[in-house]
């Protein structure tokens, strides 16, 4: 079995206008930098992007927003991107804001064959409008549906040609659950290793969820809020 592609351009083959994509990452941490750059180059438009955040003005998904390649965003928090806020408030960009935990659970459900589930998050708020409410143990819950995507694009630390992945630090975030929910899942890794080098006991995402994998290059790994303390 060999799921290896040579580079991002080859790995994103088949992504067309108006498709739905999931993109892993939290803020700029653990985002698929190489694939985003390839999508910008390819120039696909009308995309629906499911991603916790929308990058910053000049990095991450902000690069696709700048080029007006995104029609709709499904996210939980978009506060770091002025261009996003401008496009949203002017109505150019369709936005569906959903609670972060519901976003993660909806992706996981999509990948796990669970069509919908009840959660307390968002009850009594705008998020609950039009959704079925049911009480469990006397507490109200709303029905949330699963999410899937034509392509899920994730970033891992190490992977092998079977698609097995491990992540580093909090760069894990949404990557494993989104990888589960893609009809086709593309994983870009910092380091491609031989099968067997990753201890099977410590695989974070089994390769069954990954269809394409490639070794990324030139990771910038930009830090959004560099925060340090004095050395004592």
């Amino acid at each position: 079995m060999n799921k290896i592609f040579n580079n991002a351009d080859e790995a994103i083959a088949g992504i067309k206008d108006d498709m739905t994509l999931m993109l892993g990452g939290f803020g700029l941490c653990g985002i698929p930098e190489n694939s985003i750059a390839a999508l910008v180059n390819k120039g696909v438009t009308g995309l629906t992007c499911i991603s916790n955040n929308a990058g910053v003005d000049d990095f991450g998904l902000g690069l696709l927003l700048q080029k007006r390649q995104i029609k709709k965003m499904i996210s939980s928090y978009v506060g770091e991107n002025d261009e996003f806020e401008r496009q949203m408030l002017s109505g150019e960009l369709e936005v569906d804001l959903i609670p972060q935990g519901s976003l993660a659970a909806r992706c996981q459900a999509g990948g796990a064959g669970v069509p919908a589930f009840f959660t307390p998050a968002g009850y009594g708020t705008e998020v609950a409008v039009g959704k079925e409410v049911r009480y469990f143990d006397g507490k109200p819950h709303i029905l949330e549906s699963a999410l899937t995507a034509d392509f899920a694009i994730v970033k891992a630390w190490k992977g092998d040609r079977f698609g097995n992945l491990i992540f580093k630090g909090t760069a894990r975030n949404f990557n494993p659950v989104m990888a589960m929910a893609g009809k086709i899942t593309i994983a870009e890794v910092e380091e491609m290793v031989e099968p067997g080098e990753l201890d099977p006991n410590f695989i974070h995402l089994p390769g069954v969820f990954v269809q394409r994998i490639f070794q990324g290059v030139n990771y910038e790994k930009r830090i959004e809020q560099r925060t340090v303390r004095e050395k004592v």
């Binding site: 949203m88 935990g101 990557n175």
Partner: protein, 217 residues
């Protein structure tokens, strides 16, 4: 009157040994600096870490290790890292004993609004809706009034809600209050602040019973 640090210090007094605690962005983040000596408290950040430590010293920042505010952090010995689904499983499943977050408005029945000003500011709710819907113990850390001087403790929230009937306690620059069926109940005054000052700054129903002690910071 307290400053933001004072609010954080006062909330730190609420911590109990063995608790897992989620701190929101802003004032709540400061609480980690004032954990009373001898208490073992584990901080969770909803992007996927338990056992969050101090900010790194310069030169040791790691782009792959951040908190929910996107700030660089360190992991303490005994820390654990996980994905977003597991992170909210521990939140929704009530494995986290305390949530502290900021707010734009709180109502006297415990509703909270902190994610959207229609037509003006839309940042999103992030994990706040999941946190307030699930946690049994929610403390709001905020200033008592907004920049225009208007009360943030209201009869009813005017902004889109983050959660309903969920806030248990509020610590502001003026007071400590809890939320009861009769409205906000005044528990403590900030140093130098009178009951009348607090009444004047509180739009929602306010219950004042007996002598209200001054906070000890």
């Amino acid at each position: 009157m307290l400053d933001k640090t004072g609010i954080a210090k006062r909330i730190a007094q609420e911590l109990q040994d063995g608790w897992y605690v989620n701190l929101g962005i802003g004032i709540p983040t400061l609480i980690a600096n004032y954990v009373p000596d001898g208490l073992n408290v584990v901080f969770q950040s909803e992007n996927g870490i338990l056992g969050m430590g101090a900010f790194p010293i310069e030169g040791e920042e790691d782009a792959d290790l951040i908190n929910a505010g996107k700030q660089t952090i360190t992991a303490l010995p005994g820390a654990a890292i996980f994905d977003s689904a597991v992170s909210f499983a521990m939140i929704r499943g009530k494995h986290i004993q305390l949530t502290v977050l900021g707010a734009m408005e709180v109502s006297d029945s415990g509703d909270i609004a902190n994610w959207k000003i229609p037509g003006k500011m839309v940042k999103g709710m992030g994990g706040a809706m999941d946190l307030v819907a699930s946690s049994d113990n929610i403390i709001v850390a905020m200033m008592h009034t907004n920049r225009k001087g208007h009360s943030k403790l209201l009869k009813q929230c005017s902004l889109p809600l983050t959660g309903v009937k969920c806030v248990k306690k509020i610590v502001t620059n003026l007071a400590v209050l809890d939320v009861t069926d009769q409205g906000f109940r005044l528990l403590e005054r900030a140093p130098g602040v009178s009951v009348e000052d607090i009444q004047a700054a509180t739009e929602g129903r306010l219950v004042v019973e007996g002598d209200i002690p001054e906070m000890k910071i």
